[in-house]
Amino acid sequence: MNEPVVLVVGAGLAGFSAAAEIAGAGLRVLVVEQAAAPGGAIHRQPLPGIAYPVASAVHRRRWTQVTASVRAQGDRIEIRYGCRFAGLDHEGTALLTGARNALVRPRALVIATGAAERVRPRPGWTLPNVMTAGALQIRTKTLGKAPDGRILLGGSGPLLLAAGAELVKGGNPPVAIIEAGRPFRHVIGSLGLPLPYLREAAGYMATLLRARVPVLTGTEIVRIEKRSGALTLHVESSSGGRTFDGDLIGLHDGIRASDHYAAASSIPVMRAGDCREALGARAALADGRAAGAALVAELTGTVPASAKDSSRIERERRAQRRLARIFGHDGSARLAALPADTVICRCENRTVGDLRALGPVPTDRDLRLHGRFAMGACQGRFCTEWVRALTDPSHAGSPLGAVRLPAHPIAIADLLDAGGIADNPSTGE
């Protein structure tokens, strides 16, 4: 039982569907998940003993099926929670920290680490109780109940509507949803969306309407202020400005693939789900399966029956593009007009003014060495996009500097504790 395992990082839709596929071909799999429970970004489960009024029946059914497919593989799949993958070196050694620190030599690696939310910098976005809309979703899902206090949601994208509807179901409807785009103007365009998308959107809208949650479209968040213990949100639309008071603000401007583990290595490495391309839940499931099947083909030479279903992924890609058009708006003027003291890099407290001080066309080296952008603890996950947009939009998608391992700060004690390199992380041999 000491043959090396296939290491799968992430116990979300993509990771679990890849794990089931790989184990289904008779290979042993170790799934590591940094959170204490599976589910990933969308299928966050309620804490033990808490009822789950928030997820829709469709979502619940999907998650039940995925977990059943993992369980069906018995002990061919081992799952370790509270365990984090910090990176893979060129020789194929992976560092795991948390639940049990270890250096392991897997036979192959599947990275299924999901997406991160995009949040455009705005004055006040670093205040306590200002977080991502996804963070509010996660709190609502795990506690089976919305957070207390007056909640405001703002930014842009369909996730705001989903989050708003979940807050309603969790017993605390948001005060308002501020959407920069004008999605409801695109009735014809919306009809081109696949039926499940339309059904999901209609469900969220019905829930929001019933709870009389105002959805302000074509409206931008200009700044957030802290006033006598509460937060004040300043918004602007073509009809002028207004303010909302709240206790908790959820910001969101879309999602983006989160892959900070890139490394050329001697073992096969696959990426699956939102970390490869942020295409949402349906695609993540199909993508995990496809990555698993491709890996099995590479390792064993036999192509599983469920080999790449690229039509599915293509369909989801088209749908996501359409959604992006429906919610589309030009935020570049807002970004360019940000006051100089607006923080862009949250880790190192670097501002728009600091960025401008680097001159009109700073090189990546200037940006990093002198500006300290993308040099903080999150390695630029949250600032790179905006630094690029403000300095060189033609390089919008490109990272600021190479990926550095470990992919997140780790304690030296953990590194020392990891000890020697094991082929089989279960036995340590």
């Binding site: 940094q34 959170a35 204490a36 429970a37 970004a41 804490l47 033990p48 003993g49 808490i50 509270g82 984090r84 948390g98 999901g114 991160a116 939310e117 670093t126 205040l127 306590p128 109780n129 200002v130 977080m131 991502t132 996804g134 963070a135 996660i138 709190r139 795990t142 506690l143 957070p147 989160s258 923080v343 949250r346 880790c347 190192e348 407290n349 903080g376 603890a377 999150c378 996950r381 949250f382 997140h408 700060p409 304690a411 004690a413």
Partner: protein, 83 residues
């Protein structure tokens, strides 16, 4: 296991399986001290990507959103430890 963790010595109740970020927020604690450069620390992404919710937990720097509560666990603001 449910029970109590301590934030700067103050008891904070937690639910079985709850992470420290969630327990602190439920107790009305949203500011987790300051980052080394002076910004307020606290929960931002809640999925282990932003490093915003770093706290000292039993003597080591950890993201509160990924830290499962254990009875008696002692947390405090990070206080410039990671400079």
């Amino acid at each position: 296991m449910s029970g109590r963790i301590y934030w700067n010595g103050t008891p904070v109740p937690f639910l079985p399986g709850e992470n420290a970020a969630s327990a602190l927020l439920r107790a009305g604690i949203a500011g987790f001290g300051r980052t080394p450069t002076g910004l307020p620390g606290g929960v931002f992404c809640a999925i282990g990507q932003c490093q915003g919710c770093l706290v000292m937990a039993d003597g080591r720097l950890t993201e509160a959103c990924l830290l499962e509560c254990r009875e008696g666990m002692r947390l405090s603001p990070r206080g410039g430890m990671n400079e």
